[in-house]
Amino acid sequence: MYLKGENISFGYRKDDLILNNVDISLGSGEVLGLVGDSGSGKSTLCKILAGYEKNYQGTVSIDGKKMPSNAYNPVQLIFQHPEKAVNPRWKMKDILNEGHVVSQDVLSSFGIKTSWLERWPNELSGGELQRFALARALSPETKFLIADEITTMVDAITQVQIWESILDIAEKLNIGILVVSHEKNLLKKVCHEVICLSRINNAGLYNELAFRDMQNASLGGMVPE
């Protein structure tokens, strides 16, 4: 199964494109990294792939089929700030089960304590909210996960915990992951391949520049001793 974005262009004005003819392809079970300078359009690309942003040119498809609307989207997007992704008036258990009933396995894999389910969002830290956001998005119907700087705001230990859980579940469910991050060291640890989105001239045009393999995709460092 492949999630494909083809000839994607996006801009608020015609002469100032943020994305210009970008092609991207993500396969099931693949972990693909995406780097690029601030403002190179990474987040916009993520929103387009997940169907949040609809005013773009080009096509987004899964195995040649257009994305469904008004149905569960097999492409789920996770953001940098989880506190914006939860309704502050909902309890954590309602937030968690909004899309589907999250299995106990997923909960324990993300280290979500049962006592947290009765709390309100403002009683949890960013790292814990992010675990909830991920558990909520990783349902059996989810085929692709787009992770836009999801561990930028958490401490290093939580970062390892979160990534280990994601990779573990993604492998079981054969989910493809697009990892957006500034942190090259993290990408080296979690991704099979990394692509780069960058600015090529001052006129405001962006293009897909480079596609390079990272050194061996071993996740050796992930295994706890």
Partner: protein, 325 residues
């Protein structure tokens, strides 16, 4: 914490710290159910010393309340908070009046978000805003120099904040702190979401300020950023400081680090071993009076669950643990 124990235990040379924070605790009053007001402790028994010419990083996970430390030093806490402990600035007690007097002059904040700029005010007015009228001419001169140093075109001064890019806005904030004759600069989470180049650039500004003789407190969740420029790093965990170590101690497998949490944090970095540690940081209402790290600790003893360990000096650093020496 006894103050005589704390005095100059970090800096053996005996030079006075610019800012000393002793035994600082901060709590909030919240209505829990119905009409009951409960006290929620965010920071407990915090100790810090900031020296001129040094960058001190306070590293802790986001949402842990470390930004409130900055607000406490500047005296901009909300009215439902209670602060205890003492703060000294240049050897004098830092009272609320004193904080208000020094704020923006000798003590300056570089805020987390660029929305702190007044959207309706020209940049040059904001940058020179904190100085007295008679020095205006001189300040314009200094502004030109500072702008040049930070790669801001002279016409940036005439712009309004919305005309700036994110990076420019950040540089403007840094220039503002530099233009005021601040001696203590507190940077609150200045780096998230920056790409590598902008990150390095921003961090270099802080280093520059320290070189000019300022004391810089860098509050961040990003230990890598802290490692790049700091002289000392204080590890903030569940409302208190677990360890304060000199930058040189962060090497190899972390064998020079004293606290097991710091060592785990170091080994969890992607460029190191990316090694996991189980458990999570306890929330304030999950603490039970013992060591805040008790549940995750590998070297704990029974005594650790009884009392919060004292901060003690080991070598060049400080550590809050009973079982290291």
């Amino acid at each position: 914490m006894k103050s005589e124990v704390m005095t100059n235990i970090i800096d053996g040379s005996g030079s006075e710290a610019l800012l000393k924070v002793r035994d600082l605790s901060l709590s909030f009053f919240q209505y829990t159910s119905g009409l009951r007001q409960t006290e929620l402790r965010i920071i407990s028994n915090m100790n810090l010393e900031a020296y001129s010419g040094e960058v001190l990083a306070v590293v802790g996970s986001s949402g842990s309340g470390k930004s409130l430390l900055a607000h406490a030093i500047l005296g901009i806490l909300p009215s439902n908070s209670r602060l205890s402990g003492s703060m000294e600035y240049k050897g004098q007690s830092l009272t609320q009046e004193k904080k208000e007097e020094l704020r923006g002059k000798e003590i300056s904040l570089i805020p987390q978000s660029t929305t702190y700029l007044d959207p309706l005010m020209r940049i040059s007015d904001q940058v020179t805003g904190s100085v007295e009228k008679k020095d205006k001419g001189l300040m314009r001169e200094r502004q030109r120099d500072t702008f040049q140093r930070y790669n801001l075109r002279p016409d940036v001064g005439k712009m309004l904040p919305h005309e700036l890019s994110g990076g420019m806005a950040r540089r403007v904030l840094v220039s503002t702190a530099l233009m005021s004759s601040a001696e203590l600069i507190i940077a609150d989470e200045p780096t998230p979401g920056l790409d590598e180049r902008s990150l390095d650039e921003t961090l270099r500004y802080f280093k520059d300020m320290a070189k000019k003789g300022c004391a810089v407190i860098l509050i961040t969740h990003d230990i890598e950023a802290a490692l790049k420029i700091s002289d000392r790093i204080a590890i903030f965990y569940a409302g208190t400081i677990l360890e304060e170590a000199r930058i040189e101690d962060f090497t190899n497998e972390g064998e020079n680090l004293r606290h097991p949490y710091t060592r785990a944090l170091w080994n969890a970095l992607p460029q190191n071993r990316f090694q996991k540690m189980e458990g999570h940081q306890p929330m304030q209402d999950e603490l039970n009076g013992g060591c805040v790290f008790f549940e995750r600790c590998s070297i704990r003893t029974e005594d650790c669950s009884k009392d919060i360990p004292q901060l003690k000096r080991i070598g060049e650093g400080l550590v809050r643990c009973n079982n290291v020496s």
